[in-house]
């Protein structure tokens, strides 16, 4: 592996990521959902192509793709879609419980690569055509094989090659299949959160938010309702294995399948991965849009956004060969199911029994579904920066607690799902804005702090909160700057902003592998298996249509 000493020494110390922020700022509107292809017959191919990494490397890889246009795409709200003949992860197959699914796989890998196949763990698969393989029927070089199975139960599951797995899965032959429930529980339709979706924006004449879900429940169980969903697949790559494969494939490019010597002898041990990916991309590429043109073979991203109170379904799959302790900042995740098996109480089928985890460890081949939410409950200060004495109207919203303590009476409220016990409660003793003083804490001189690229500008949520906190200081106080008040909280240094204090001003939380070595791209930090999750105020439209 070539030494990259200068890059290491340079990049490590740059907390503000100047080298990558040009890309990141373009991604300001790129969100995620769980996009894929629909239908009951899928025509897939296995082919080579090059995957791009943020260090500029193009890694020779293999992946599943579409051999012809699919029946459709989901969610329908994402319109700029494609299914190229190779992608990593493979196309996400989105089907409905009870359907009979047919997958036709064509082997367009180089002849020397030999057979390939797909395993669909969790389903009873019948295969036809193709040639005999160890774990399933396989497609010979240039040939095809057909798999048929019933989508017997809802949930998220992995699929991956059943042939020479140590090489083929490393090279990228894996993907996901999502089975939507046939009968969505009544409790999950027409919910309060459904009414709140985009309601504030509509009330001020802005375009409302779309619904980017594949369904409104993950299972036929009223505890599995959700408002937003994301699919994350975790994998790693050892570039030396990919380079060996490329060298051998190139040397054998004229060989005939089945002839003596027309096979690969790629050593997959010792294993030293240098790339760690979420949905086939390393940070910061994973935060670029779905179906971004610059990643023709890596269409899926990892860029979660949610509003306070949203129930967010996380479909998490471990691909590759290593486990990864995937840590979600900001709250726990309630695991609903493993490999499509809903975990419920032994004494009550409507009570969940999966653990609540702040680190959802992934295991190769295993999928889990979990629900996450964020509300700021229990912070003991008003995270919106509300203040009864402010001159800013949006600082004086009402908070009427429902039986659970949240402001849910008006779905069009900007502060829908605010935790009312902390309403108007100040954070700071000595105000540096017109946010009311009297709180427990004195915020420090900003000169002793370095601001991050995703810092929304203040402790508070939403563009108006930031402006309130850094705008008008009450006249008569020592820090008064009235009437020369700033209107936005642009934090220094300007230009390195990915969560603009004057625009999005959300709360950013890092979701990442906690084997911290894995949040690097080929020895350079930051990179690898991480992404930023944004909790956005309802004045910011979460648009996953890319």
């Amino acid at each position: 592996m070539k030494p990259i000493t200068i890059k290491i020494a340079f990049l490590k110390t740059r907390v503000l990521l100047p080298a990558i922020l040009a890309v990141v700022s373009l991604a300001a509107t790129a969100h995620a959902a769980a996009p894929g292809i629909t239908g009951t017959t899928f025509n897939l191919t296995a082919q080579p192509a090059y995957l791009t990494q943020p260090d500029g490397q193009a890694i020779y890889s293999w992946g599943y793709g579409c051999s012809q246009a699919p029946s459709g795409y989901a969610p329908s709200a994402i319109t700029h879609t494609f299914c190229n003949s190779m992608q990593v992860p493979g196309p996400t197959l989105i089907v409905t419980e009870g359907q009979t699914i047919t997958v036709n796989l064509a082997n367009n890998l180089p002849a020397a690569a030999g057979n390939t196949s797909i395993l669909f763990p969790g389903f009873q698969v019948k295969s036809s055509g193709g040639v005999v393989g160890l774990m399933t029927q396989e497609a010979a070089p240039g040939g095809t094989v057909t798999y048929t199975f019933k989508a017997s139960s809802p949930g998220t599951r992995s699929y991956y090659s059943g042939t020479q797995g140590d090489l083929q899965i490393e090279m990228g032959l894996y993907g996901a299949i999502i089975v939507l429930p046939a009968a969505v529980p009544a409790a999950c339709t027409n919910t309060q959160n459904d009414h709140a979706r985009g309601a504030y924006l509509a009330s001020i004449g802005q375009p409302t938010e779309g619904d980017f879900r594949l369904a409104s429940a993950a299972y036929d169980n009223p505890k599995t309702c959700y408002d937003r969903e994301y699919l994350f697949q975790f994998s790693e790559m050892d570039p030396r294995i990919h380079q060996q494969a490329l060298n051998q494939v190139t040397a054998l490019k004229s060989c005939t399948a089945g002839a003596a010597g027309c096979s690969l002898q790629v050593a997959t041990e010792p294993y030293h991965p240098a790339y760690f990916m979420i949905n086939g991309r390393s940070m910061p590429d994973d935060m670029d849009p779905n179906y971004a043109a610059e990643y023709p073979h890596q269409p899926y991203n990892g860029n979660p956004h949610l509003h306070p109170g949203d129930q967010v379904l996380l479909r998490i799959i471990g691909q590759g060969r290593w486990q990864h302790p995937f840590h979600e900042h900001a709250n726990h995740v309630r695991i609903l199911a493993r490999d499509g098996n809903l975990i419920v109480s032994a004494t009550d089928a409507n009570s969940l029994a999966g653990p609540a985890l702040f680190t959802t460890t992934t295991t190769p081949g295993q999928a889990m579904d979990g629900i996450f939410y964020y509300t700021g409950r229990g912070l003991n200060w008003d995270m919106y920066g509300h203040s009864s004495t402010s001159s800013d109207g949006l600082a004086k919203l009402n908070c009427t607690a429902d039986v659970n303590g949240y402001n849910t009476g008006n779905p069009a409220a900007l502060n829908y799902y605010e935790w009312c016990q902390d309403h108007d409660k100040p954070l700071q003793v000595a105000p540096f804005g017109d946010v009311e003083g009297g709180g427990p804490v004195t915020l420090p001189d900003p000169n002793i702090l370095t601001n991050g690229a995703w810092f929304g500008g203040s402790p508070y949520l939403g563009v108006d909160a930031t402006a309130r906190a850094t705008g008008c200081m009450p006249s008569g106080t020592e820090q008064s700057n009235s009437p020369n008040c700033g209107t936005t909280g642009v934090t220094p240094p300007s230009g390195t902003i990915a969560n603009s204090p004057g625009g999005e001003a959300g709360f950013a939380f890092m979701w990442h592998s906690h084997n911290e070595r894995e949040i690097t791209t080929n020895n350079a930090f930051p990179g690898g298996m991480m992404m930023m999750m944004l909790v956005d105020s309802r004045e910011f439209a979460i648009d996953e249509s890319n």
């Binding site: 009311e436 804490v441 402790p459």
Partner: protein
């Protein structure tokens, strides 16, 4: 004329001084009272739990407590810097680390360095100035440190704010958080601890943690910030989450106070979040746990009744029908008439969670943090060389910052640092002492940055009762605890295990059992082929 000018200039100077005094970079914060805990006299001890707090709408427009103020105020100060530690094979290893700047006497005794305001806000008054090292070795005057004599637990550097007193803004002693930077630098530089200073708070407490960045003496090339990430806090604040890309990071020469109302009871942990592959591998990892309010239930109330009272406050309630993330609903078995144990201001019975049925009770507790050091990485970390993250490989396996046999050395350990003096940098042994017939709670966390680690118990089965700071109970109230011989964790995970030695026919006084890793290559101290992730359990 000139006299008027002089006096005007003098006034202007005083005004300038008064203004810049508020822009101080080092400071601590530990208010004696707050909105949530308004009576300063009650904030230096934990009151009994008689039910949720009642609120009224205060004059300023937000809710203020009227009765049943629960919890207290707790404060702590830590430094972010560097230091040295001793590995199991005797190697002196460089590290980046947090060090204690309060609660020094408690930390040297293996206790948390978290203090009530009356202790935190005390000024060091020893005859001799505090000297470098942790704990400062001055009090006893003897060299090496006479720990038996050192008793100071206040905030290092706290001094009366002379400027505010002079300006008439504050009456003496005016302990408003103003600090003497010299004391902080004398004690804080190179006083890094592995694991970082132990923290422990109670539910309903307000916690003020001040992080003071004293710089890293061995790396003058790094203008490195530091942060504290409280790992696993539900509904955490992005501003106080410690992720530099998402909020703010503290520059060298600055102090920042993290503020949290204590989260739900459980075993959490904390670490720096600056360049995590580097700062965590280099050692900026520590433990924090939250004790349940069930510990404060008086003996006149059953645990089930107290948990039922908690259901009346939406902040402390767990109603499965509306909150998918809470895991301590009322136990399915109903009230088993277990009375609380809070007597005379002391928790005589201890629980890991608000279980409502006493099933998480224990007698002694031990926080255990699993970590690993890659000696090559620590060497290049000290010598300004490029760091290979992809090839990081731990060769030292640490329990509470030490490898066997050091895990069983009682008392804090000292290591010679780059200044030629001994600094206490490894405060916590990992000996599990269980009085005969009793139960021990192991609060196990892992902050390894490269691989999963397994810890097995030879002799006494492990009962896992909590996972990721959540009680193992389903939404219908059934306990899901399980017995096992080993647990496996990766960095970023924690769980709670009870070692039950109550059967005195099996576990007798004087016996020694082992906690060790069945990953046999981790039973090594680098090239030394026996050591590593192992410690002893002593039945007393």
């Amino acid at each position: 004329m000139s006299r008027i000018i002089v006096s005007i200039c003098a006034l202007a100077l005083i005004a300038v001084v008064a203004a810049t005094a508020t822009a101080q970079s080092f400071r601590v914060q530990c208010p004696t009272s707050t909105i949530t805990h308004p009576n300063a006299a009650n904030n230096n001890s934990e009151p009994a739990y008689a039910g949720p707090t009642s609120f009224t709408n205060g004059a300023a427009g937000y809710q203020t407590p009227s009765t049943n103020v629960n919890g207290a105020i707790k404060c702590q100060q830590i430094s972010g810097g560097d230091g040295y530690a001793s590995m199991g094979d005797g190697t002196q290893t460089y590290m980046f680390s947090f060090g204690p700047l309060s609660g020094l006497a408690d930390i040297s005794n293996g206790l948390p360095g978290t203090e009530f305001p009356n202790v935190f806000n005390s000024v060091y008054s020893g005859a001799k100035p505090l000297r470098p090292g942790d704990p400062a070795t001055t009090d006893g005057g003897a060299s090496p440190a006479d720990l038996a004599v050192f008793g100071f637990n206040g905030a290092i550097g706290l001094v009366p704010d002379a400027d505010s007193i002079a300006a008439g803004n504050c009456t003496a002693p005016c302990l408003d958080g103003h600090v003497d930077p010299r004391q902080i630098m004398d004690v804080g530089v190179m006083n890094g601890n592995i694991p970082a200073p132990l923290m422990a708070i109670d539910e309903d407490d307000e916690y003020f943690l001040t992080l003071t960045n004293v710089g890293m003496i061995m790396r003058p090339d790094l203008f490195e910030q530091h942060t504290v990430h409280f790992h696993g806090y539900p509904n955490a604040s992005a501003f106080y989450d410690g992720v530099p890309d998402a909020s703010v990071a503290i520059n060298i020469g600055g102090s920042f106070t993290y503020y949290y109302l204590a989260p739900d009871a459980g075993t959490y942990f904390y670490h720096c979040h600056i360049t995590p592959p580097e700062h965590l591998q280099m050692g900026m990892v520590g433990q924090i746990y939250v004790r349940p309010r069930q510990n404060r239930v008086p003996s006149t109330t059953t645990l089930y009744a107290a948990l039922s009272l908690q259901q009346n406050d939406p902040r402390t309630a767990c109603k499965s029908s509306v909150d998918i993330l809470c895991t301590n609903p009322l136990p399915a078995g109903g009230d088993n008439n277990t009375p609380g144990g809070f007597v005379g201001g002391t928790a005589t019975k201890k629980y890991a969670y608000n279980d409502g049925d006493g099933s998480t009770s224990y007698d002694v507790e031990y926080p255990l943090q699993i970590h690993g050091f890659d000696p090559n990485f620590h060497f290049v970390g000290m010598t300004f060389n490029p760091e290979g993250f992809a090839d990081m490989k731990d060769k030292y396996f640490l329990l509470n910052g030490r490898s066997y046999p050091d895990t069983t050395t009682p008392g804090p350990m000292q290591t010679v640092s780059a200044d030629g003096t001994d600094h206490f940098s490894q405060a916590l042994p990992s000996i599990i002492n269980i009085p005969a017939g009793k139960k021990a709670l192991l609060r196990i966390s892992d902050l390894d940055v490269t691989e999963y680690q397994t810890l097995a118990s030879l002799g006494i089965p492990m009962e896992v009762i909590g996972l990721n700071a959540k009680l193992l109970r389903d939404q219908a109230g059934n306990n899901l605890y399980y017995n096992t011989n080993s647990i496996t964790l990766a960095g970023g995970e924690s769980l709670d295990v009870i070692l039950d030695a109550s059967d005195t026919t099996k576990y007798q006084s004087g016996q020694v059992f082992y906690l060790f890793t069945p990953q046999l290559d981790h039973l090594a101290n680098d090239a030394e082929n026996f050591g590593g992730l192992m410690t002893e359990i002593h039945i007393l």
